[in-house]
Subunit: 217 residues, 2 copies
DNA sequence: TAGATTGTTAATCGATTAACAATC
DNA sequence: TAGATTGTTAATCGATTAACAATC
C-alpha cells in the first residue's frame, strides 16, 4: 500500500489533514476540492495533491475528494484501527494531565497501566486506572505485553528505563522527559515532545518582533 | 543584530542548541568544536556552523566555540533576559500541569495570573497563584498589561477569546486548544501545541513499522 | 610555524509550487 | 459535450551538505 518511505514532512501533516477532514465531515460537507481544502488549511492545492498521492489516488477528476472516505482513508493510513496496549510511566502533574486530557482510544492507543515510584501516588486512580508501584512494571509487561510507553519522568529515569522497556517489548515511546530519546535499536520509534522548546520558540518570536519594532524607530 | 529574517528551521533548532550547551556547560566543558557538537546532537558540523552564523560569528578559527559564552549568546538571541508578563487561561488538568511543570522564569516568562470559569476551581492556588474568575480577566489585563497568554481551553473558547485578548494587548499565544490558532493581526505571534497530532505521528510510525514487517514476510 | 577549525561560498539534495494532460 | 479537478511530471525554491580559503 505505502509506496516506499514517505517523507517526515508529509507524515507531520497527516494528523492535521485528519483533523480538518473530521471537522468538515461533522459540518456535513460531502466533497471538497484540493483548492478549497488548501484555502481552509493555509496550504497550496498542489501540496495537498502531492501529499495525498504518496498514499494513493483518493480523488476523482472533475469532482474532488469525498470528505468522509478520505477521512477514513487517512485514519487507516495512520493505523488508528488497531489499538496498541500502552503504559504511562510517571503519574506526576504532567502524566496525570495527559491521562485525563487525551482521548487515547480514538487515536489508536489503549492505556492499560500507570506506574510511579512515589508512595503518595501508588493506589490512587486516574481515569479509572490504578497507579501501580514501578517495581511491578516488569511483571506487568511480561503478563500484558504493552507495546507503547509514555514517559513523564525526569531525564535520568528516562535514560535508565528506556533500555529496559525495549527489552520488555516496548516498540514506541511518547517521551515528555527533558531529554532527546534516541534509541538506536532496530524497530523502535520515538516521538519526543519538548514543551520547553516550544515555549522557547514563542520567546524567540516575541524577541524578534521587539527587535524589528526597535529597528523601525 | 539579526541579519534579516532567520528561517523557521533554524529557529526551531535554537532551543535544542541551548539545551545541549547548558548540559555541556554544567558538565564543565569549556570549549567545543562544531564537529564534536554535531556528533553529540546528531547533526552535521556544517549545519551547526550555518545555523550559528545566522546570528553572528561566535566561534574562533582553530579553537571552536566557548561553551559558556555561546550558551549565553543563544539565550540573548532567544530573548530570555526580559521576562514577559504571562497569563494562563484554563486551569483544568492540562493548565494545572503546565503551571506546575514548566519553569517559566528561566524561559523568559513571568506567570502573573490564572483564570478559569469553573466555580470549583476559582480561589484555589496553583504554584502560589490564585485562580481568578474569567470575568476578572478584562480588569486584570487593563491593570497589569500582560503580553503573553497560555490557552488551555476548548477550541470554541479559544476562538472567541483570542480576539479579545489581542485587543487587551496580548502579543504572544501559547495555544494548547485543539485548534490551529491563526491570528492575522500584525505583530501577534502564536505557538500552537497539538499533543494529539504528536501522538498520531507516533501511531503512524508504529503502523508503518508493522507494514514493513509484514512486507518482509 | 603547523594544525585545527571556523566562516562562507558553491554544490547537492529534497520539498514545494506550477503546469498540464488525463479523465470524471 | 464542456467544465472542473485530479494525478503526475517538470520547474523552482529553500535547506542541507561539502569544500576550502581565512585565520586563530
Amino acid at each position: 500500500m505505502a509506496k516506499g518511505s514517505v517523507s517526515a514532512s508529509v507524515i507531520r501533516r497527516l494528523p492535521r489533514y485528519y483533523r480538518f477532514l473530521r471537522e468538515l465531515s461533522e459540518a456535513g460537507t460531502v466533497r471538497i476540492s484540493s483548492g478549497d481544502l488548501a484555502r481552509k488549511m493555509g496550504l497550496t492545492a498542489s501540496q495537498i495533491r502531492q501529499d495525498l498521492n504518496c498514499f494513493g489516488g483518493f480523488g476523482q477528476q472533475g469532482y474532488g475528494y469525498n470528505v468522509k472516505s478520505l477521512y477514513e482513508e487517512i485514519g487507516r493510513i495512520m493505523g488508528l484501527g488497531t489499538p496498541r496496549k500502552t503504559i504511562l510511566i510517571g503519574a506526576g502533574n504532567l502524566g496525570r494531565a495527559i491521562t485525563q486530557h487525551m482521548d487515547f482510544a480514538s487515536r489508536g492507543f489503549d492505556l492499560t497501566g500507570i506506574f510511579d515510584c512515589n508512595p503518595e501516588l501508588i493506589g490512587r486512580q486516574i481515569a479509572g486506572i490504578t497507579i501501580q508501584n514501578s517495581t511491578a512494571l516488569y511483571d506487568f509487561c511480561v503478563r500484558n505485553h504493552p507495546t507503547v510507553a509514555i514517559l513523564c519522568i525526569p531525564k535520568e529515569a528516562a535514560i535508565k528505563l528506556s533500555r529496559d522497556l525495549v527489552a520488555l517489548g516496548i516498540k514506541g515511546f511518547w517521551n515528555f522527559s527533558h531529554y532527546d530519546l534516541l534509541l538506536d535499536y532496530e524497530g523502535i520509534v520515538v516521538e519526543n515532545v519538548h514543551l520547553g522548546d516550544s515555549l522557547s520558540i514563542l520567546c524567540y518570536q516575541l524577541a524578534e518582533m521587539d527587535r524589528e519594532n526597535n529597528d523601525k524607530k
